[in-house]
């Protein structure tokens, strides 16, 4: 005697549609990020606070017009917070919770475990750009129109670089270690990586180092593009190099659990 009529569990296996699987995975992770209070603090509230604070308060030296010079750095911060710190921490804990194994046991191809995460990250970055952009415009932000396309390229390259670094960190270590390292690196890059202070305002060697870091490269690249309208190819190259290097390493070190 059983609850189930015969044939209830009769096998009828088959692979789901790839685009649907990938989009559902990405949408799930996107929604989870926006539902998580700590993630919202990291990806939206802190960048918003810094955007307003650095623009309105004269605590750090910023060339005038302040908002035009602050906003590109805040956008770089937003990309870094989402693609690197937030993503690494989420990945670390998802691995701990067996999510990657769970998904790896479905029809989802292995590459989509990471691709789905990147799509979700891009979605969050888009939300950040809209919110931060709107507030910046309210503060009087002025954009050089020819710089918009290169800025979009830079955001994509920056997301790829930070995303690959996030997978590298979050995919290899224990969740608690990931949490600590991801936050520490974030703080270091905010202070000395060209975010709060532009790469030009940093002293001596630090200035050159920061310009070669993904944070400094993205912030400075966005400033050049959005203020002057020029495409900063070298900066774009720096970001793509970080993306490629980190992705190659991460592909070797990513562990499912």
């Amino acid at each position: 005697m059983t609850l189930f009529s015969p044939g209830t569990f009769a096998p009828a296996p088959g692979r789901g549609r790839l685009s649907r699987m990938l989009l559902t995975q990405a949408r799930t992770e996107f929604v989870l990020t926006l539902r998580n209070g700590e993630q919202v603090l990291l990806t939206l509230l802190i960048p918003l606070g810094l955007l307003v604070g650095l623009t309105v308060l004269n605590v750090v030296p910023v060339p005038n017009p302040r908002v035009d010079n602050v906003t590109p750095r805040i956008l770089a911060l937003a990309v870094m917070s989402t693609a690197f710190t937030g993503q690494a921490i989420a990945l670390g804990f998802d691995r701990r919770y067996g999510v990657l194994k769970r998904l790896a046991a479905t029809s989802l191809p292995r590459w989509s475990l990471v691709a789905g995460r990147m799509l979700a990250v891009l979605g969050v970055v888009l939300v950040q750009l809209v919110v931060l952009g709107a507030v910046a415009f309210a503060l009087g932000w002025h954009v050089s129109p020819p710089g918009l396309a290169p800025a979009a390229l830079l955001v994509l390259a920056g997301t790829a670089a930070f995303g690959a670094l996030g997978v590298l960190l979050g995919g290899a270590l224990r969740a608690e270690v990931v949490l600590a390292v991801a936050n520490m690196v974030w703080l270091l890059l905010v202070v000395a990586g060209g975010i709060v202070l532009s790469v030009h305002a940093l002293p001596g060697a630090l200035s050159a180092i920061a310009a070669a870091l993904p944070s400094g490269a993205l912030a400075e690249g966005l400033r050049v593009a959005l203020v002057t309208g020029v495409t900063p190819w070298a900066t774009l190259g720096v970001l793509l190099a970080w993306a490629a290097g980190a992705a190659i390493l991460a592909a070797r070190t990513l562990r499912l659990s």
Partner: protein, 323 residues
């Protein structure tokens, strides 16, 4: 009939065995530890195999090799005739997996998670129905980390079944479940079997293995120590029976032991629980009750039985605790 299969066409793979799961000479080490050490087993189609063993016996390692999560150091593993790693893409849609613990984003709602796994299949079971059947409708919108252990287990089981697989691997499916939920899982496993699904599950629970499986494989230290149907395992020596009863703890068993025939042994495996092992006949029964009278105790729950699977298990794997 012999000509029925198109021999000679296309790529000829090695003659696939008809078993749903076939493990031959599997070896898998972690550092210096041999978790699985030359293990063989087969799950026939539409049957249930219980993999039984103490902690650290190699159950999860075996299952994870079958699922393609671990690469074997040696040996051959085939699931539905496919290599779990090389043919992973072809195998995964046909396989249902319930890992041990976890398997969902900490913040994901139960229904979202099951929905995500469902879209990975071409013809999934109805998500709402499955949640309902597993008693998860009331917590469909609760984040995974706030579900009870039993609810998390039920969600993991739902994820294993939703794609209508041909073969399912369940790693301790009833761990942390209350008796009602456990009965439900038993019912599901029986229905899976009746519908033609092959099931391999691991468990610590003897009654579970005894009630559900066509075949029990007992492993320890990564090796098979016994296999067979529950009936075969428990009746390996048909004359060997047991007489059990309960009485005040700490009775002096010495006079009983001397009064019993030579091939019978008396012991107190747990305080207050007494066991007489051997050829139990009416004479032995009389001896025992006479001894009880002598001791001035009343033997409660007196019963004669064949060996339980638990006895077989403890006999084979020892009684000391595993870390």
């Amino acid at each position: 009939m012999i000509r029925g299969r198109n021999l000679g066409f296309g790529n000829v793979t090695p003659p696939a065995s008809s078993a749903a799961v076939e493990v031959c000479g599997l070896v898998r080490s972690f550092g210096p530890v041999r978790a699985v050490d030359g293990l063989d087993l087969q799950v026939q189609p539409a049957t249930v195999l219980a993999l039984l063993g103490p902690n650290g016996a190699g159950k999860t390692t075996t299952v994870e090799v079958c699922e393609g999560f671990l690469r074997p150091d040696a040996g051959v593993v085939r699931v539905l005739g496919l290599d779990p790693i090389a043919d992973s893409a072809a195998l995964r849609p046909r396989m249902g997996v319930m890992p041990q613990g976890g398997g969902a984003y900490p913040g994901v709602r139960a229904a979202e998670m099951l929905g995500l796994v469902a879209v990975c299949s071409a013809r999934p079971l109805d998500v709402g129905w499955l949640l309902d059947v597993l008693g998860l409708t009331g917590v469909a919108r609760v984040p995974y980390k706030r579900l009870s252990g039993g609810q998390q287990q039920r969600l993991a089981l739902a994820c294993a079944l939703v794609g209508r697989p041909e073969v399912v691997f369940l790693d301790e499916p009833t761990a942390g479940m209350d008796p009602q939920a456990r009965r439900l899982v038993w019912d599901i496993i029986a229905s899976l079997r009746a519908d033609g699904v092959s099931v391999l599950f691991t468990t610590h629970l003897m009654e579970e293995a005894e009630a559900l499986s066509d075949q029990v494989v007992i492993i320890d230290h990564g090796r098979v120590v016994a296999m067979g149907s529950p009936a075969e395992l428990t009746s390996s020596s048909t004359t060997q029976r047991q007489l059990r009863f309960r009485a005040r703890p700490g009775l002096d068993l010495h006079p009983l032991a001397t009064a019993l025939p030579q091939d019978c042994g008396a012991s107190e495996p747990r305080p207050g629980e007494y066991l007489v092992d051997g050829l139990i006949d009416p004479q032995v029964m009389a001896t025992v009750t006479a001894w009880c009278a002598q001791q001035g105790v009343f033997a409660e729950d007196l019963r004669v039985s064949r060996r339980s699977l638990e006895d077989v298990f403890l006999e084979l794997t020892g009684r000391e605790l595993r870390s």
